[in-house]
């Protein structure tokens, strides 16, 4: 043991108080840094929260306009929403929002946030826009974890598969039993090497159309069945 350490030990034996004061001053420094950190973060949050909220709104609107062309509605989609209860019809385990489009006050379309739980690796999140007459206006993948280079052609950034296969589709155009990929005897394209991914997407779009067909009245009748925001 070095001389320094010996001296230190002696000092702490002589004055047990110093341990306490050391502990308190250390705790004081820690608390001081916590306070400074909290103040800095709170200030940054206050300064940025409005900007963040508005740019997120913009991004959301831009996204919604991808599935529902602006010509098909004249209302503010973000203000005309309702909640789709959790319970699996659209694959959602939590409540999700759906957006109502209206043209001249009349219902023109609805946009669902849906989840396909049976992708190749995890959930595939989608936006599905259905026109009031039951025809699909557009489908986009919001988030997915499919294999890059194989299953990711469902993403519009990689291919226009989703556009080609779903735009203009409806329950009338394609019968229930044909809502499958071609490999399973249905009428939807898929790319070799990745069938599980499109299978999941086709299934959830089909479900969304059926959900719309069943709940059409409630969806557009304000204050009934489905909860108003």
């Amino acid at each position: 043991m070095s001389e320094d350490q010996l001296n230190q030990d002696k000092a702490s034996e002589d004055k047990p108080v110093s341990i306490w004061s050391h502990a308190f001053s250390t705790a004081g420094v820690m608390i001081g840094f916590c306070i400074v950190g909290t103040v800095l973060l709170a200030y940054t949050h206050l300064k940025t929260s409005d900007l963040i909220a508005s740019s997120e709104k913009q991004a959301k609107l831009a996204l919604l306009s991808q599935v529902l062309p602006p010509a098909l509605h004249d209302n503010n989609l973000l203000q005309d929403t309702f909640k789709v209860p959790a319970g699996g019809e659209l694959g959602n385990s939590d409540e999700t929002f759906a957006y109502r489009g209206r043209l001249g006050g009349k219902p023109s379309a609805v946009i669902f946030e849906a989840i396909a739980p049976d992708g190749y690796s995890g959930d595939i999140k989608l936006l599905i826009a259905i026109k009031a007459d039951g025809e699909i206006a557009g489908v986009r993948v919001l988030a997915h974890k499919e294999t890059p280079g194989l299953g990711d052609y469902i993403d519009i950034a990689h291919s226009d598969w989703i556009k080609k296969n779903f735009d203009g589709q409806s329950l009338i155009k394609t019968k229930d039993e044909l809502w499958k990929v071609k490999k399973d005897g249905g009428s939807f394209d898929y790319m070799a090497g990745a069938t599980i991914t499109p299978r999941a997407v086709v299934k959830v779009v089909h479900k969304a159309l059926q959900y719309y067909a069943q709940h059409q009245q409630q969806i557009f009748a304000a204050g009934s069945g489905l909860k108003e925001k």
């Binding site: 420094v29 840094f33 973060l41 890059p148």
Partner: protein
Amino acid sequence: MDSKEIISNSLWKQNSGLVQLLGMCPTLAVTSSVVNGLSLGLLTAIVMAFSNASVSPIRKLVPTEIRIPVFILIIAALVTIIDLGMHAYFHALHAVLGIFIPLIVTNCIVLARVEAFAAKNPIAPSALDGFMMGFGLALVLSVLGGMRELIGKGTLLSGIDLALGPAAKHWVITVIPDYHGFLLAILPPGAFIGLALLIAGKNWLDNRQASNDLQGTPKPALAAGH
């Protein structure tokens, strides 16, 4: 330690990606393309410059016992501020890099440089060390990302339009047209194999340099003898 030494240490001798092997989580996860690797690397460099620069002036105020929690507090606060600031002012860029930014807190190279360098040195060299260490990592991430992207997809710089706007779309270089892709390179094993090759390459260069030096020195002596 002079700045020349700091720079050569950071970029080559003690490179955080190839020699210290710290921060493997982002190195392996994010480097599926050049743009991803370079973006995360540069962000890490900025965070490291700031974290080193802010720890250095307070290094004498912090008791040794609690230095690690204090350092982590500072790093986490800095990263959050950068994250919020980017989200508010550079929304498009944040949409692309947003998921990587919180990852920086978990990158141990940041804490390692704060602890090993900034806690013992004045502010200017500390900031330089932080930035250069991060830049060294950024270089490794870009090269690794480039290798994986080229072998996996046959392109370079794909996705640059997400970071710099649609105008940059024609910067994407298709090196091998009609390439069918080699999936292994994009998947996680590709990251391990690529990193191993890079480390082996660096060691080979270092060894060659060392043996050249060894062969080089006796020669003049021999020449003088004859």
